[in-house]
């Protein structure tokens, strides 16, 4: 494969960022938007081409005779050399998941670019302030995200990981005059930064023992005869494990060092993918423009954590303890987020918690994946779900964006009964809901079903738990759906136009994504993506009993939602009154934010920073000043020596001379 296209995939968005960032203000809004979109379109085409090449060209560097998909290193440039072995390179790495991610990212990104052309202007067609900047940041994000997924080494991942964090910061804080947006962006950045600390230390540990940053060397074995081509191999991971075990300190605080490294790396993933307890930034991140939420906080960036775990999956397989931790964290998060999503009022928050929950699904899926069971079905399921989720969640977000754009509020109480006014939005949103609820034949059904299957293979507790969460997902999504589009007749406030559907730039992405959500389930994903590249016939492992059960659960949940929310009725408030404590806790998201507020503000800020600053000013600086003060004081104190009386002078003189003599005598003789 030639280098040109991969280079372009990375270069074009970077160029667009610099171009729009430096010169955007000089050009018209429309031009900037169009250029940005065109640029993204180009990348879309190139990425599709690349992915197509990878999956379907059958070239020897991509697939071997046995039909196994290989990893291919397109290029690898030294960027910064630490030591002989530890070198950060910037490269382009193709394997099933990165090719898949290329498709996901460019698709959603392009849709969002297009959509924003309509979204980022008001009803009179006036573009928002900073429109060019918006496109510049979108380009920056696309660049970073693409760089992240094609990274051939973990340090490049980390670099772009940070960059997506920064672009996320910039985009969440896009409405920088709004204090809430500012604080939300800050929160997002700092929480993920904290998680990245773990990631960084994890990298340090891993690279120290592994002696490399390269994924290929960490998890894969080179393929004979083809430069830059390798294949996922447990053997290599075994080798890494052996390096850890053979070293002098294989155990640290009760767990093996490899486990520590992997858990620390997972900590980074938790931050990025909003796993509990580092999830708190994601709901707040909804302060950003909705297309941003769709792109970054639903489809792409937040799944980077999942992606990274998948990247290092063979290593994780070496330490199942780490995988168990992932499973537990994922399961708890999934349940928690679903609980919270059931009672939220702000539609974007519902979607945000739904995102958390769904990502947790993917995590769980990775956590339960074992080669022993269905040849690592969970891995494939996770990636599949990542794919489908990206599509339908982006769809839902963009739909929500359309609603917000039409209504001017995030609150469903201002919506209700919009189905007649905004038919396109309604139908696409419904498709999204069906997909996420896991109704056959929409895409979510397939991916979720496989996740549940793999859970079953892990333990029945996990299976039941995740099925419950799946049911809750269906419930809250349809609660949302009904509350937006049904419940009661829409009341347009005085002096407002009745809400209506949006221009084509916004509708087109909705329709496209809805269409994808309808059919994506039928993609033979197992053929394309599996943990070791081995093609995987997923229909062969399709567990119809699991599917039936989950379908039943979903339908039941939908029915429940229909009963409760289709028409205005007192049932919801009754339920709420029945369990007031639970409702309050859920509504306040189990007070996580308050806890964090307490920790950061009262403990770190008040009890660490302030005392330290005080300590610095008064004790440390005080000591330094004290040298001066004491000197001055002493100077003042010995002033009487110079009394002006010569008789005192000679007295001191004589006593001094005698003391000199006597002390010397006493000391020396």
């Amino acid at each position: 494969m030639e280098m040109t296209i991969p280079v372009l995939i990375l270069a074009i968005p970077l160029f667009m960022f610099l171009f729009l960032g430096l010169l955007g203000m000089k050009m018209s809004h429309k031009l900037a938007g169009t250029l940005g979109t065109l640029g993204m379109g180009t990348i879309l085409v190139l990425s599709y081409y690349t992915a197509f090449q990878y999956f379907f060209s059958g070239a020897p560097e991509f697939i071997n005779a046995a039909g196994e998909r290989l990893q291919y290193l397109v290029f690898d440039q030294t960027w910064l050399q630490f030591t002989e072995k530890l070198v950060i390179k910037v490269g382009f790495f193709l394997d099933p998941i990165s090719a898949m991610m290329l498709v996901v990212i460019t698709t959603i990104s392009f849709m969002v670019h297009l959509y924003s052309m309509g979204y980022m202007r008001d009803h009179h067609g006036v573009y928002e302030h900073g429109f060019q900047r918006f496109y510049a940041f979108l380009s920056l994000f696309s660049f970073s995200m693409l760089g992240l997924v094609v990274a051939p080494n973990i340090f490049q991942t980390y670099i772009f990981w940070e960059l997506v964090g920064a672009s996320s910061y910039l985009l969440i804080g896009f409405y920088y005059t709004k204090p809430s947006a500012v604080s939300a962006s800050k929160k997002a950045f700092i929480v993920t930064r904290f998680a990245d600390l773990g990631f960084l230390i994890g990298i340090l540990v891993l690279s120290y023992y592994g002696g490399t940053f390269n994924f290929a060397e960490l998890t894969s074995a080179p393929v004979e005869g083809l430069a830059g081509v390798s294949q996922v191999s447990l053997g290599t991971a075994e080798g890494i494990k052996a390096m850890f075990t053979n070293s002098a300190a294989p155990v640290f605080m009760g767990a093996s060092v490899l486990t520590w490294a992997l858990v620390l790396i997972f900590m980074g993933c938790m931050g990025k993918s909003a796993m509990m307890p580092l999830h708190i930034w994601l709901p707040d991140a909804m302060e950003g423009p909705t297309p941003v939420s769709a792109l970054i906080h639903a489809a792409t960036m937040v799944v980077a954590g999942v992606y990274l775990v998948a990247r290092l999956f063979p290593l994780y397989l070496m330490e199942t303890a780490a995988l168990d931790i992932i499973t537990v964290v994922g399961a708890l998060t999934a349940f928690y987020a679903a609980m919270v999503a059931c009672v939220q009022v702000d539609i974007k928050r519902v979607l945000a918690f739904s995102t958390i929950s769904q990502i947790a699904f993917m995590m769980v899926s990775l956590g339960v994946a074992r080669p022993e069971f269905h040849e690592g079905l969970g891995y494939m399921a996770s990636m599949f779900h990542l794919f489908t989720h990206a599509m339908f969640k982006a769809l839902l977000f963009l739909g929500a964006g359309a609603l917000i754009h039409a209504i001017g509020s995030n609150d469903y109480t201002a919506m209700h009964g919009l189905r007649k006014y905004m038919p396109i939005t309604h139908w696409t949103f419904l498709i999204g809901c069906l997909a996420i609820a896991g109704i056959i034949p929409f895409s979510g059904f397939f991916s979720k079903d496989e996740i549940l299957s793999s859970c079953l293979g892990y333990s029945w507790v996990a299976y039941l738990w995740m099925s419950l969460v799946a049911g809750m997902t269906a419930f809250y999504m349809f609660r949302l759906y009904y509350l937006i589009f049904w419940w009661k007749e829409h009341e347009t406030p005085e002096g407002h136009h009745a809400p209506h559907d949006q221009p084509w730039t916004m509708s087109l992405p909705l329709i496209f994504l809805a269409a994808v959500s309808c059919v994506a389930g039928f993609i033979p994903f197992g053929e394309l993506v599996s943990w070791n590249g081995h093609p995987y016939d997923f229909m062969a492992h399709f567990d119809w009993s699991v599917a039936a059960v989950s379908l039943c659960v979903a339908v039941a949940a939908i029915v429940l939602a229909t009963v409760m929310y289709r028409k205005e009725n007192p049932l919801p408030s009754k339920m709420r009154n029945a369990l007031p404590a639970l409702w309050t806790w859920c509504y306040h998201r189990f007070y996580w934010d308050e806890l964090y507020m307490f920790i950061t503000h009262s403990i770190i800020f008040r009890s660490v920073c302030r005392p330290l600053a005080w300590f610095d000013r008064h004790i440390i600086d005080g000591t330094m000043d004290a040298f001066a003060t004491v000197t001055n004081k002493v100077s003042e104190a010995i002033k009487p020596l110079q009394s002006g009386q010569i008789q005192m002078y000679v007295w001191y003189y004589l006593i001094g001379a005698l003391a000199l003599g006597v002390v010397t005598i006493l000391c020396l003789l």
Binding site: T83, I190, Y208, L612, I620
Partner: protein
């Protein structure tokens, strides 16, 4: 004497001094300053290119362009010059910051005196970086320190008298220890039968300082330079000093002068006394490791922009010293890169703070807000500087910090696995934590100062950057980005310093 290129790093500033002294009008003075600093930049770039060429051609001497002229014959004091990659990087840094600093003080009152002192200061800086003779090094070091007093005292703001005095006294206090250390080194510089020498390279080659003396002289020199490197607990001059200093002085001081500390620690303390550096590193590791997080925590609660940045400098410079003490190539490379990076970005910070202060007449972030709407150019620059400071990839901070962390971790693990205690490891991890805290205080400032609604409506009438301000900040941003995007170039440049000779000297 004039055939050596390095000597021009002192001659040009001296010519600038003369030129400034002779000029009458402010235009002339500006012209001298700008011309001179451009000449210095050109010279350092030429030196850089030539140096790389020589290294590529296989010249593996520890220092190139070495030359030595006898000065005080009976004491064997020479005017000895020589550079390696580190010095070249520092020279480049200094000339860039002098250049931008000249622009940042475009409209300073009493320009003649100001530039005289400023250039005198940079004479000291350049002299320090080219010297390889301990005596001349020390002399230039002190030359660079004392103009600070008048620069802050006359052109400063706030509690300038107090700050100027404190800064000068504390730094001179450090140099008092340093002087003792240097003289001590001199008297143990050569084995019996050889002539005592002040020459760094010769001392390092002899490696004759007895261990007992090393454990006395190492702390002396390390603390001596460490004070200037804002090592905890001797950093307190830094917040006050920077807060009171005029813009260009803050830039030069934080950007270049504080680097003298780190450079000196490396070049003198560690290079000449490797044994003590290994044995006594733990004390200073604790101090510097503490100062990394400590400075960051303190910065979190400050509301004066310059104080915040000063504490941030404490944290970042702490990282420099911290990394130097790791005694491994990677960490040391990282330390030097951090010096470069911190020099540039902190200069950028101080330039911006000065520009904002010049407009709003306050540095309290509680008194400002929404600057992004009023001063978009400066605000964007500030955000970039902030990102550089918190270590965003693509800007200089990231590469430096990562190099340090990787290197330190290697050293820490080597210690840990080698059964030599886990101090390095623990403090590496503590130092890593600074990346989070840095993010906290940087974003806090960005949030309060630049974003959000406009705090004071009087600020709405402010005008954005003038051309010289744009030039000054843009230069720095380009430099920051250049290091951030092409780190390997700088890393390799610095690594050329770690010739095999140093490895044997340091026992690395």
């Amino acid at each position: 004497m004039f055939s050596n290129i390095l000597i021009y790093f002192v001659i040009i500033p001296l010519l600038m001094l003369a030129g400034t002294g002779l000029c009458r009008g402010v235009r002339g003075i500006r012209a001298v300053a700008v011309t001179g600093s451009i000449a210095l930049i050109a010279l350092s770039v030429y030196l850089l290119v030539d140096y790389i060429g020589l290294r590529a051609a296989g010249d593996s001497a520890p220092m190139l362009y070495t030359d030595s002229w006898m000065w005080f014959e009976p004491l064997n004091i020479h005017l000895a010059v020589g550079v390696d990659g580190i010095s070249i990087a520092m020279l480049l840094l200094s000339s860039i910051i002098l250049f931008t600093g000249s622009f940042a003080s475009w409209n300073i009152p009493q320009p003649k005196e100001f530039f005289l002192w400023l250039i005198l200061l940079s004479t000291g800086v350049f002299g320090f970086f080219i010297s390889i003779d301990l005596f001349t090094m020390f002399m230039f070091y002190e030359v660079a320190l004392i103009p600070m007093y008048l620069l802050i005292g006359v052109w400063g703001s706030g509690r300038k008298n107090y700050s100027a005095m404190k800064l000068t006294l504390m730094l001179m206090g450090g140099s008092a220890f340093l002087m003792l250390g240097l003289i001590g080194i001199y008297y143990h510089s050569a084995p019996a039968g050889h002539e005592l020498t002040w020459n760094l390279l010769e001392i390092a080659a002899y490696d004759a300082v007895p261990h007992g003396w090393q454990s006395f002289l190492f702390p002396m020199t390390f603390v001596g330079f460490g004070v200037l490197g804002a090592m905890f607990p001797f950093h307190t001059w830094s917040p006050d000093g920077h807060a009171s200093a005029p813009t260009a002085v803050s830039m030069l001081h934080a950007g270049v002068l504080m680097k003298l500390g780190g450079y000196g620690c490396f070049r003198v303390a560690i290079y000449l006394m490797p044994w003590a550096a290994q044995e006594l590193a733990w004390i200073f590791l604790i101090l510097t490791g503490t100062s990394v997080v400590y400075g960051a925590f303190c910065a979190c609660v400050k509301t004066d922009l310059k104080y915040i940045n000063a504490y941030s400098s404490v944290s970042h410079c702490g990282l420099v010293l911290f990394a130097i003490l790791m005694l491994n190539t990677t960490a040391m490379t990282g330390a030097i890169m951090q010096m470069l990076s911190h020099g540039l970005m902190t200069a950028l910070f101080f330039a911006l703070i000065g520009m904002i202060y010049g407009r709003t007449h306050t540095r309290e972030i509680t008194q400002m807000g929404g600057m992004m709407q009023i001063l978009p150019y400066l605000s964007v620059c500030y955000v970039i500087a902030g990102f550089a400071s918190l270590g965003l990839p693509g800007l200089s901070g990231f590469v430096a910090e990562m190099t340090i962390f990787v290197g330190s971790f290697q050293a820490g693990m080597a210690d840990y696995l080698g059964g030599e205690g886990s101090l390095r490891l623990v403090f590496t991890i503590i130092a890593c934590c600074s990346i989070v805290i840095t993010a906290v205080y940087i974003l806090r400032v960005v949030g309060k100062l630049l974003l959000g609604p406009v705090y004071d409506d009087h600020h709405r009438s402010l005008t954005d950057a003038t051309w010289w301000e744009r030039l000054s900040t843009a230069t720095l941003i380009i430099a920051v980005a250049a290091i951030g995007c092409f780190p390997n170039f700088f890393s390799n440049l610095i690594k050329t310093t770690f010739t095999p000779e140093i490895f044997t000297v340091l026992g690395m």
